[in-house]
Symmetry: C2
Subunit: 214 residues, 2 copies
DNA sequence: GCGTCCTGACCGAATGTTCGGCCGGTTCTT
DNA sequence: AAGAACCGGCCGAACATTCGGTCAGGACGC
């Protein structure tokens, strides 16, 4: 047998998208290499030409998911807008991103634990693989904390500047991001509210929660 | 071989707690019957004396988790307090419950998907088992929606009564519960904030978000 | 002695991963 | 320009391992 008749080449991104989508409703552990391969018209064995093993595949999905929109959030955070403006734009952008990339957003919630428990290939791979895996995984976690920090800092800045009420920034940040991530669980495309609608509600809610009362 | 030497009898609740705890950091799919059994000093085979199979075990964990505190929430919701008072007490109670039962709360987030994908025992069990499993699973999901409804209704009531701002109740409810559930991910006992502290922040935040501005 | 609780041994079904080889396109040699 | 050598991408088959689940029976308390 040869390759599929006149098929378009399958590239890494295609596989990552397919994987993220399957992870979304089966979860990493329950997802088979065969499942992922089938979605891109390949064999399980073929996936190993693109990724070292299943753990690395997951790692790549998560790294890719985190990259979605982080640059734009940095831009907003670094702009010279007021903290109120910044936070509003960041929330809107984040929520829309989540709603438009549910598979990756869901992975950021549900597949981090599998990532942490993964060894990087204890079964067959040597110690070299484990080393690289752990390093990249650490970088991912650090980057994820940095992501949360972007929101927390704007919040802290706003509190110091007197734009926001005095609240416990770490907790409120987590409550906020928890609510945003949760969107990837219940949001459905074509539902009553569009991604922008949901984002509007979130922005309105959080700015109201932080507004100083006088 | 016989049973363990003179050890205290293991009861269903012990197994469920042990299971929930292991689920929390390995996830349902990655958790082995052996893992659970070991935690209560049993053999994997012994677990089948207490539960039909792995799927039913999960179902029991989730059913138990949902029962935690739902009665008290019903009481608060049915009381004759103002909607503001009701919501405040409900949030506080819910958040404290989550923080004090992280394993079960985490299961409510992470193990619902495994439950939905579970068949109830396609491998060995007959159609009877599948039937019962699906029925109980449906009841669980319905009860979970009802749980969300308790919060949404108080919110709606408060809006109609003019106690709260006009917001999109379904979305705000989900943002709220998303934030609460997320507590089970980041909260750690003995950390900077106690369960009550976290609950206070949440109550304060959400009441501020809903307060009518005049 | 009877039912409850528990156990070791075992089974069938998957799963992640490796391996040797096939195919089509590209590059090198002459 | 034509054939040879090569290579990336892909496959079928096989392997080791693991896991959920069953079964027949041993020990304990009543």
């Amino acid at each position: 047998m040869a390759r599929k008749p006149a098929d378009q080449t399958v590239d890494r991104e295609d596989i990552l998208s397919a994987a993220a989508e399957i992870f979304r409703h089966k979860g990493y552990e329950a997802t088979t290499m065969k499942d992922i391969a089938a979605k891109v018209n390949l064999t399980a064995a073929s996936l190993y030409h693109h990724f070292r093993n299943k753990d690395f595949l997951l790692l790549n999905v998560l790294e890719g998911g985190l990259d979605i929109g982080i640059a734009e959030l940095e831009n907003i955070a670094a702009s010279d807008l007021s903290n109120t403006e910044k936070l509003g734009q960041m929330i809107r952008y984040h929520v829309v991103s989540v709603a438009e990339n549910v598979e990756f957003a869901a992975a950021m919630i549900f597949e981090v634990r599998p990532l942490l428990n993964a060894s990087g290939g204890n079964r067959y791979g040597g110690a070299k693989l484990m080393e690289e895996f752990r390093a990249r995984r650490s970088r991912f976690i650090a980057r994820r904390d940095y992501f949360e920090g972007l929101f927390r800092n704007v919040l802290l800045g706003g509190i110091c500047a007197g734009e926001f009420r005095q609240v416990d920034a770490p907790t409120v940040t987590r409550a906020m991001l928890g609510g945003h991530n949760w969107v990837s669980v219940w949001y459905s495309d074509g539902g009553r509210l569009s991604a922008e609608d949901v984002a509007d509600v979130m922005v309105d809610t959080w700015l109201a929660a932080l507004r100083v009362s006088d």
